[in-house]
Symmetry: C2
Subunit: 396 residues, 2 copies
């Protein structure tokens, strides 16, 4: 009776906390071998497993402060013919509990494995453990990984705001491009940088709202005329009115195993648009994958919850639950407990930022979003001061 | 007898520590009014000064944890006709001590102001306080601001390395573009991420070495064949064999007051080059100005030294020194003391990364660079663990 853990999809800062939670709880419960698949389901297909039970407990505890999938990840779409091979490897190593940490693609994989095992009468318990910086899984309040990327982007946007405050006389416009694919959750989190009305970010654009260049330029000019500077955050996956990505590499080489196009380049494009149309200099930051792996910006809440979904996955499995993903359920006064959702209700679905979280003008988020996201980033941002309360007059 | 402080050029994480050092030391020494110029020399020309002496001491102390120029900065090249106006404002406010925090352009400005005051018999003490993330000032061991941007980039590169470790089966090549303009100091600092031979970064390209596309592609392919993944760091200011920037915006709108072209876009360009020539998917991160304003990555050493150059600037000024920039002098066992260098020896000069810091192949730095840079980032990087020491065999 052995346990197998796999990590899949894009890494997060806290994804190893889920591994740690599973391993520590499995040990507490006295399960047999505790194995890890190298590079997710690819490791199963290649029979490339490691023994996590033999690792030093300090190494396992060290996972809590180690970003990015320590078991390795993959973006491989499991083919029909692969499923037989997976069950074969599970039989070979007597894997009876399979915990798959990932997003909606991974929940689809987990769901299919569970179905096949059931069909072939192979006794297997499958629990999905949620993970995605994109925060786009349905049926869960939020996703482990999101709070930390939100904290990173809130800090980065506040810092970029301070930078622009200092140099707006030569560099008045800054655009920050965030990840998020087809949903604006990550981009929206940059709003948490804003304390006062004139603070960055001044404008936020999400893929949930069709991007219209004329409106965008008008928004930018309005803020520029008022403040002399503009900090804008945009999602890599912005779409035009026809629902096409503003920017996506088209080459076959730039799609992953799930045929998702490689996005990005939006901020660069918008800088050029502003320079051309408004004749104002604009620069962009694109932190890229650094935002999802930055342990110095990890949210304490996110760390705890990523551990909790791993630990509870084992508890649910031991209670005989199978074919579910562990979800997060928000309770009053911020605190979360876990729940279970059938894997097929998660697989391949996407939760977009809802309308009541986006301002009608489509260029910022609402207070409702702030209330939703603020507890997730694990405490206030670092405190900064401001100078300038005492102008010098001639008598001074 | 009043003091005036100005900040100029690109912000850093620690530049406000120098303001704090000046203000606190000036108070200790009982100097009269302590003023700040808003947006550097522009604030002088516009007679836009604030009274720092009236600020709450907690606000002044809070500067130590507040990134980016709190007085505001500028990239304005002072014109011949401006200098008279500057002296006029100084007379109006009885400014007798001028501390200008900046890089080589700012030292030129400070030098010219000092010369004119002397010529016009206006009693003025001028001290330059070094600041630049680029670390390109001559006659100083290093520049306040550099240690923190180096720490940011070392952490970001290590994190990107962990990210690539996890997802190399779908995203094998990552390029990180750093700042640095015409010198490779910042890019070189990414080498501090490397603990083991196969760790990121695998290749580093500095503007000091002419960039040759064929050699680059060969380097990339060699690492890729060996490890199946490559993390590359490049400077925004890479140049080809003719000494031209690989990528620079050409429009007039994209040059600053000193006619420096806006650089950037190198990583994007190199990703396309790799995709086209090697048919391997490559992605890039461009943290942009976030790297110079990220307080969560500040180096403790850098914070201390930025404070020290401010504090000592006041001490030197009170001893009657004028027309100097405060320098950092490295002593045995890492510790720095300050010294003085004539402003005209700093103005408009650039210190490039020396040959003995760059590997002969031009694609990495040497151990001598590591020994130079390591103490500057203020202690070890956060500790991460690695899994995988126990492969599962059939009997396991």
């Amino acid at each position: 009776m052995n346990v197998l853990i796999g990590q899949s999809g894009g890494p997060t800062v806290v994804i190893n906390n889920s591994v740690c939670g599973i391993v520590q709880e499995a040990k507490r419960q006295g399960v047999g071998g505790i194995y890890g698949a190298i590079n997710g389901i690819l490791g199963v297909l290649r029979d490339d497993l490691i023994d996590l039970g033999k690792e030093d407990p300090f190494t396992i505890e060290g996972l809590r402060k180690t970003p990015s999938s320590a078991l390795g990840s993959c973006r491989y779409k499991v083919q029909e013919e692969d499923y037989g091979r997976i069950i074969e490897i599970f039989e070979k190593h007597n894997i009876r509990f399979f915990f798959y940490i990932g997003g909606n693609d991974s929940m689809d994989t987990a769901h299919k494995i569970e179905g096949l095992a059931r069909k072939e009468d192979f006794d297997l318990t499958v629990i999905g453990v949620p993970k995605t910086v994109d925060n786009d899984l349905v049926k869960t309040d939020h996703c482990p990984g999101y709070g930390s990327v939100a904290r990173f982007n809130a800090i980065a946007t506040r810092d970029a705001g301070r930078d622009t405050d200092a140099i707006y006389t030569s560099d008045p416009i800054k655009i920050i491009e965030t990840m998020g694919r087809n949903t604006g959750w990550i981009t929206a989190s940059t709003a948490l940088a804003k304390e006062d009305e004139n603070d960055a970010p001044h404008l936020i654009y999400l893929p949930e709202t069709p991007f219209i260049a004329e409106d965008f330029l008008e928004d930018v000019l309005t803020v520029y005329k008022k403040l002399g500077k503009v900090v804008i955050t945009v999602c890599e996956g912005l779409k035009n009115e026809s629902g096409e990505h503003l920017m996506a590499s088209r080459g076959e080489i730039d799609t992953d195993g799930f045929k998702h196009a490689q996005l990005g380049g939006v901020a660069d494009y918008l800088c050029r648009l502003i320079s051309r149309e408004l004749k104002i200099k604009a620069r962009f930051d694109k932190p890229g994958t650094i935002q999802r792996t930055s342990m110095v910006c990890a949210s304490k809440t996110d760390i705890e919850e990523a551990y909790m979904v791993g630990r509870d996955a084992v508890k649910y499995a031991m209670e005989g639950k199978s074919g579910y993903m562990v979800s997060l359920i928000r309770e009053k006064e911020y605190r979360c407990k876990t729940g279970l959702v059938r894997l097929e209700l998660i697989a391949n679905r996407v939760k977009r930022v809802p309308e009541n979280f986006i301002k009608e003008e489509g260029n910022f988020v609402t207070q409702e979003f702030i209330r939703y996201a603020k507890p997730l980033i694990g405490g206030p941002l670092p405190e900064y001061v401001r100078l300038g309360r005492f102008p010098v007059n001639i008598s001074g």
